[in-house]
């Protein structure tokens, strides 16, 4: 009986909580298509922890905390360029090779009991020891005094509703499925409304280098076909993530599969995907409605589709003679808002594939700035940096789900941000 259960369990999909360190975001996303591996949103649901890419020492405790949140029996896999001791006992897989067989092997060994579960990495210390001292066993002299069970309780604050209730401080990230990994937000929620937002930390590793196509295009001419295919793939990958957040997992997989190897001939398939997405009612039912002040903020920030969705024709490609020779004109939305940005992104993916088909071997000009899928990219000035600056103003006052959809729509890429800003600081140092 026991061996039957173990055999059955070993045949189940290995459920993985993945930490996507610097330079591994796309590779981790691709794992969603791997056989026998299922990426989950919470370490409580996982059997195996996958730690991918480079991670700064300041994130090491967070990694250990995530590790300890996995239920026993648990195992971890380190997916990185070189071996390190971040998670002792983790199997090592080189970045660039497929980790899914190592993950499945670890999962099977756990279920068969041939591999012991990993012990906790953090010391067993209570955050703050607490003993009741008051007459009823409470922590302090007042009725709510002290820090019960090692933590204080939230405190009262006024609210726009006129009811003075508790503000719940919440630290989201750095490894939350709701945010790009590496981003930490300090949120204060009153009920389900975010009333205070601060970006607490960004970036994964100081040494991040990115060989991204668009960063390369900053310094050397790149074939337009290549650039536009890259743009379309990026948009499709973004769509896959955003669809997942909205609970449409099957469509998300379809978008990801398309995004993995979209080529100029695929524009019909992307159009069909866009039509199927529209048919789900997502634009009417799921996404927050456009809001005047927020749309205005985005309109001035050169954030690519988010900006063009409000009808502002801001696009660096217009300045490029190579694009002009192809008859390029930016696509524009109307009214702004998340739904318009979604539609525009999909329409741009189609347009990019068409452009790539017509592009031949035309090469882009080096103008000092490139239109990346996220917006205007220049040395020392990444669109994700501008998006992070706007983020608190954009989502303050929103309902939780609306805020998460809005963050997703901004498409923050910390790798790109790190590479562009690291470039400038290196230049400054030189």
């Amino acid at each position: 009986m026991t061996s039957l259960i173990a055999r059955l369990a070993a045949g189940s999909d290995a459920r993985v909580f993945a930490i996507a360190g610097a330079g591994s975001r796309a590779a981790v996303q691709d794992l969603r298509l791997a056989d026998g591996v299922e990426l989950v949103d919470s370490p409580r649901a996982a059997d195996v922890l996958l730690v991918a890419g480079a991670l700064d020492p300041r994130h090491h405790d967070a990694v250990r905390r995530v590790h300890d949140a996995l239920p026993h029996p648990r195992a971890s896999v380190r997916w990185a360029g070189s071996r390190d001791v971040l998670v002792p006992g983790a199997a090592h897989v080189a970045l660039g090779t497929d980790p899914s067989s190592a993950i499945r092997a670890a999962h099977q060994a756990l279920m068969h009991g041939t591999m012991p579960t990993e012990p906790p990495l953090l010391p067993d210390e209570d955050p703050a020891p607490w003993r009741g001292v008051g007459p009823y066993g409470q922590g302090g002299s007042g009725m709510t005094g002290g820090t019960p069970y090692g933590r204080p309780m939230a405190e009262l604050a006024p609210d726009r509703d006129g009811l003075r209730l508790d503000l719940l401080p919440t630290r989201l990230g750095p490894f939350s499925s709701l945010l790009p990994h590496g981003l930490e937000l300090d949120l204060r929620v009153s009920g389900d409304i975010l009333v205070g937002v601060e970006v607490a930390a960004t970036g994964l590793a100081a040494s991040a280098t990115s060989a991204s196509l668009f960063i390369r295009a900053l310094t050397e001419p790149v074939s337009i076909a290549e650039l536009e295919i890259g743009r379309a793939r990026d948009h499709l990958r973004w769509t896959a993530d955003a669809l997942r957040l909205q609970g449409l997992r099957a469509l998300s997989l379809r978008a990801l599969r398309l995004g993995l190897h979209a080529a100029p001939g695929d524009h019909r398939a992307v159009e069909r995907l866009a039509a199927d997405i529209a048919r789900t009612g997502i634009y009417r039912w799921s996404l927050p409605a456009a809001d005047g002040a927020r749309t205005e903020l985005l309109a001035g920030a050169r954030l690519g589709p988010s900006t063009r969705a409000s009808g502002v024709g801001e696009d660096e490609r217009q300045a490029d003679p190579a694009y002009r020779s192809l008859g390029f004109a930016p696509l524009l939305g109307a009214g702004g808002g998340a739904a318009a940005a979604w539609r525009l992104r999909l329409a741009e993916a189609v347009r990019s594939l068409e452009l790539a088909g017509r592009g031949g071997d035309t090469r882009s000009a080096v103008t000092g700035a490139v239109e990346s899928p996220r917006g205007r990219l220049a040395l020392g000035d990444a669109p994700s940096g501008r998006a992070l600056g706007l983020l608190p103003t954009l989502i303050e006052g929103m309902e939780w789900g609306d805020a998460m959809a809005t963050i997703a729509a901004l498409d923050i890429d910390l790798d790109e941000l790190g590479a562009v800003t690291a470039g400038t600081s290196a230049e400054a140092a030189a």
């Binding site: 009741g132 009823y136 066993g137 409470q138 922590g139 009725m143 709510t144 005094g145 002290g146 019960p148 069970y149 309780m153 509703d161 006129g162 009811l163 209730l165």
Partner: protein, 188 residues
Amino acid sequence: MSDLPVSLAFAAFSAVAVVAGIRVFRTDSMVRAAFYLLASFAAVGAIMVLLGAEFLGMVLILMMAGEMLVMAIVMVMYMMNPAGLNPMVMVHQHRTAIAAGAVAFLALAGVGLAGGVPQRPVTNPGAATGDLGRELLGNSMLVFQTAGVTLLGTMVGAIAIAAPRGRFGDADADSQEPALQPDEEPEA
């Protein structure tokens, strides 16, 4: 069905009703208090079913599930320390209250035991729901329509009282902070 299962079920449900009723005031967590009250109501509903009032019993359970969820939600909203993480006792006139409760129990139970209740059991419990329907549309029509108006008044009143914004400006205009200590003057 024989009498024994019914008696056993009655004993069990009575125990749940009374114990859960006591636990309502003996737990630190407000959510638990609300759900204990729900358990007490559900047990009373089940006893009603045993008594042949199937419809009334089930509808009581149905109604109370919604009402106690709202009760729990409102409790959490307005009570400091809603989960009872920090134990506390918030009672006044405790002895008087216990005495009053005991007196109420003894008096009512005494009346029930001594009062000589007439024995006219319900004849056809299966027809009870239909009887109630005909009563609603016939003799008690006025009560029924009055209930409608009362509920309308309740809805309008509750929203007008509780809503954050009304035609006369914000509801919290001219409000003030309470004092931190019982005898202090409130903050301006």
